[in-house]
Symmetry: C2
Subunit: 219 residues, 2 copies
């Protein structure tokens, strides 16, 4: 048994998404104490900005004519795809950044998507249990001033669920900047409730992915 965990927060020491991810991971490890956890920390070790382009153009280039950079990019795509394919369950912690998708996560996804097993036609991840933790500094609910400004979660669901076919549960915590940004102090109570709910959801989803056994398709 093994869990793959990806973290995208650029501020690990104070990361709300990593803290929720820790809860999910604890539930997994408590159910499977001997399980390995494979980690991909996109803040400590971001995917190079040129990797995706090199992997894509390598696909149009006979192997003998590929540059070293193209070969390295294809090898990295294989490695990050291996990490997904070989795991029994997946955990992603990905904050909303600047109303959009984490640049580090998109860069990682684009590269993984070039590998045949995790490409548009790959089926290696179908049905694999996964938890997506996402956190939003503000509040984006209906009726709030920023309603509609979260352009990240829908895309994350799209690619994890609809494209890769993962069996995804989403743990979301809003208002993580309450207590950090004094302008939001009035929302302390609601933020505390949202935090408690997210922590409970993280526990539940950790137990769920730990309980599921999926046979990986031999892709």
């Amino acid at each position: 048994m093994s869990l793959f965990r990806l973290d995208a927060s650029i501020l690990p020491a104070t990361s709300s998404s990593r803290a929720l991810g820790d809860i999910v991971e604890q539930e997994w490890t408590s159910a499977h104490p001997d399980s390995a956890v494979t980690r991909r920390d996109l803040a400590a070790d971001p995917i190079p900005a040129t990797a995706w382009q090199n992997a894509v153009t390598a696909g149009f280039t006979p192997e003998a004519d590929q540059t070293d950079a193209q070969r390295e990019a294809v090898a990295l795509a294989t490695t990050i795809s291996d990490e997904l394919v070989n795991a029994d369950a997946l955990l992603f912690t990905v904050p909303l950044y600047n109303y959009g998708v984490s640049q580090h996560f998109k860069t990682w996804f684009d590269l993984a998507y070039t590998n045949p097993r995790t490409s548009p036609t790959g089926t290696a991840l179908q049905g694999k249990p996964a938890t997506l933790v996402t956190v939003l500094g503000g509040n984006y609910d209906e009726g709030t001033p920023k309603e509609g400004w979260n352009h990240s979660t829908a895309w994350l669901r799209r690619v994890l669920q609809d494209v890769w076919g993962l069996d995804v549960r989403v743990v979301e915590r809003q208002f993580t900047l309450v207590g950090v940004n004094p302008a939001l102090d009035a929302f302390a109570d609601v933020a505390a409730d949202l935090k408690a709910t997210a922590e409970e959801n993280a526990r539940t989803s950790g137990r769920e992915i730990a309980a599921l056994r999926t046979k990986q398709s031999a892709a």
Copy 2:
């Protein structure tokens, strides 16, 4: 007078978005033959994957304690912000990639957004005329199988228009993979119409941004 042009396509030689950008630029140059064009090619020269994180953490670090990497990131943020602030009009060509935002564009935006003039509280770009060219390989219209799968354009509009306050016109071309992907051959006629319309919109928007004069705010 000067035009800032940013290109995000990773395949410059066959890029539909760059071709439309060329039309916009031609209209600009024809109206302002002596105008400079400042270029930022994110495929040829992508923003390093570590720059944003370093610029953000530099903001929490006294200048004397900053690392060289932090200083370089702040300097690059200043440069890319300068390019925007100093231009009289802006042109962005940004394809949809993997149902989401171009990784290169997001990485560039995040970094630019750390500079005070182009930050959440900066007002240096308000009212500046801009054209956003975006292209979609498939068709994402209402009623098509991929309705709702374009998670890029709404975020691009959000940050260019709502966050930075640019006076944005959007030139969009769908079905750019018709003629490339044989499975889409049946859509040749509709794709040709969409291409012609996009080219006409590119000409119009190029003329519009060329005609506008904006006084830059002294940010």
